[in-house]
């Protein structure tokens, strides 16, 4: 696996994920398993999928 931290898209996606986690900390309790969870999952899926760079690519 190459160094994914040098990919600009990954850096931005990582920053976005951190921002989303910080913002969703103040969401209401009833949304913990709803919108909060979905928003967090969608946001961390972006850098996670960029990281999944195979050896040959």
């Amino acid at each position: 696996m190459r160094d994914y931290t040098k990919i600009e898209a990954w850096k931005l996606a990582d920053d976005l994920t951190v921002a989303v986690y910080e913002q969703t900390r103040l969401f209401p309790k009833e949304e913990i398993y709803g919108l909060t969870s979905q928003l967090r999952r969608a946001s961390y899926s972006v850098p996670a999928n960029i990281v999944l760079r195979p050896v040959g690519a």
Binding site: I7, E8, A9, L12, A13, D15, L16, A19, V20, Q23, T24, L26, F27, P28, E31, L35, Q38, L39, A42, S43, S45, V46, P47, A48, N49, I50, L52, R53, P54, V55, G56, A57
Partner: protein
């Protein structure tokens, strides 16, 4: 051992075992680097089994259902896929994951919009997040285009340069 699996499959007469075990057997026979001796496979296996008291065990209790479990699951998937023969090792596979990332980014954008509509996010916070998603989208789009070009999805030349140069040479000779 591959021969033992093959023999057992023949002896038991279960064809489905033979067909399912055959790829592993062939890989074990013809692959000079045996899977069990493969460094990345053994590391993935160690991570999955938790042989090392790794950082995941130090994660807080509240994270067990999300980050901790997700990391363990990912490590298990990686160990399995290394064993399957690393089917991801191509640019087209990577493109597939980049498209998923793009879809997730659009999803994030909509959830931010929804959070604002529901009053969970202030306008400034939502605008900030939307701006970040747009920036990320632009960058990710560039990455996708670059990988698509590398993968030869759209960037295949119609006529090779050598053919063009030889045609020009022929024209010059004829003239």
């Amino acid at each position: 051992m591959p021969f033992k699996q093959l023999r057992d499959a023949f002896m038991s007469g279960k064809q489905w075992i033979l067909t399912s075990a055959l790829p592993f057997i062939m890989q074990g026979l013809f692959n000079p680097q045996r899977l069990t001796a493969h460094g990345s496979y053994s590391r993935c296996r160690n991570l999955t089994q938790g042989n090392k008291p790794d950082i995941l065990n130090g994660a807080s209790k509240g994270r067990e259902g999300s980050a901790k479990n997700g990391s363990k699951q990912c490590s298990r998937v990686w160990a399995t896929r290394r064993r399957e023969g690393s089917s991801r090792e191509s640019k087209k596979d990577y493109l597939h994951f980049l498209y998923i990332a793009r879809g997730s980014l659009s999803e994030t954008q909509y959830f931010v919009h929804l959070s604002r509509r529901l009053g969970y996010l202030s306008d400034s916070d939502a605008d900030n997040l939307i701006g970040q998603t747009r920036q990320t989208f632009a960058c990710l789009h560039g990455l996708i285009l670059a990988v698509e070009k590398e993968a030869g999805k759209f960037g295949t030349p119609v006529v090779p340069l050598s053919v063009v140069s030889s045609l020009i040479f022929l024209c010059l000779i004829l003239l």
